[in-house]
Symmetry: C2
Subunit: 214 residues, 2 copies
């Protein structure tokens, strides 16, 4: 039972893009940042429900498989769920349509905007709560059935958990591109590597998979 993080970042450390518009809520940078992951067969099957068997099957896909493996619950920030984009829409159910890829309880950290849980047939349940990182983690661990808990993002939430020393495994997929704008994952994390073993692996796509594990 470990607390895990998996993020896509650019070579200059940006984990979230900031060129979103109302018409293009992910922006132009996001597809470029995540292309190695969204090109995998596992992502296409699991998130896009594409059963054609297309998609990459190399190192990037091995990490995509591991991404969904052995997970019992997830925690994410309000921004990742989309509450900042659609704050006044009580029917907003996240970006993922009627079959969110999680299939587990997901705890969305809000800032005082209580919402009833949203339940999907495939096992995904979004719970909304205002809580400290530790409190939310306790809630997630309680329902994770002995499996791992992922801190899903965005980077600000991940930083909170990293600084609190609550993360057992941090995996970043570093895209070999420079975005020059966005939210940096690495700010104010000097010395994070202490206490972790660091493993680096290069994928066929040029993506560098770096894992801090303790």
């Amino acid at each position: 039972m470990a607390v895990r993080v998996d993020l896509n970042i650019s070579l200059d450390g940006f984990a979230t893009t900031t060129d979103q518009t109302p018409e293009n809520p992910f922006g132009e940078d996001w597809p470029r940042l995540t292309t190695a992951y969204t090109s995998t067969r596992t992502f296409r099957e699991r998130v896009l429900h594409d059963t054609s068997g297309e998609g990459t099957t190399g190192v990037d896909d091995q990490y995509a498989v591991a991404y969904f493996d052995e997970l019992g619950a997830e925690i994410m920030g309000a921004g990742m769920f989309g509450l900042h984009n659609f704050p006044d829409d009580p029917d907003w159910k996240g970006w993922w349509g009627d079959e969110p890829p999680f299939r587990i309880p997901v705890f969305v950290l809000t800032h005082g905007t209580a919402r009833p849980p949203i339940e999907f047939e495939n096992g995904t349940v979004f719970h909304f709560l205002e809580a400290t990182p530790q409190e939310a983690l306790d809630r997630a661990l309680a329902v994770a059935d002995g499996k791992d808990v992922r801190i899903g993002g965005g980077p600000t939430v991940v930083q909170d958990y990293l600084r609190a020393g609550l993360v057992d495994q941090l995996h970043v997929a570093i895209a070999p591109i420079l975005l020059g704008r966005g939210i940096r994952l690495w700010d104010d994390l000097r010395g994070l590597e202490a206490g972790y073993e660091v493993i680096a692996e290069t994928a066929e796509s040029g993506t560098v998979h770096l894992t801090f594990r303790r």
Copy 2:
């Protein structure tokens, strides 16, 4: 004949450390940033004049060999030479003792502080000049005898050359540590990857060698 850069950077992108003191002119962070390189057999032989044969011989050492290979001239900033540390010492000859590892002409970019050249028996000659990036490069290419020219650093000088589109090959050795302070290599370089092929390779030390080549 290519214009090359080789730098050691931290995972959070810092290429220069800033914790130097008069007593410790490299600071505490610098050895940690460069340890994979300074542990190689090639560095020990070439820079420390240690002929014992000790030092690592893996992927890091292959890059260390390439670092010194096929080079005809080098360009560096005043800070890398040490002029900011010893501005009033007309006898300052750099950090590298009586046998600097360059063995080629080195052009040190100054800001109006003219100095006579310094010549060493092993072929190293330090020339001091105030010039634009292109002018300094033209001077270096003129004496490089058809070989490569390296932009040695520091990161501010490298950024000038990258932004001017003058660099053919950028190699960064990314140490799996977070420094959280220093000078970032990647600032204001959005889209640098365009026009380059990017190759990533992981060394036994956990260092990720990333090369932009055109």
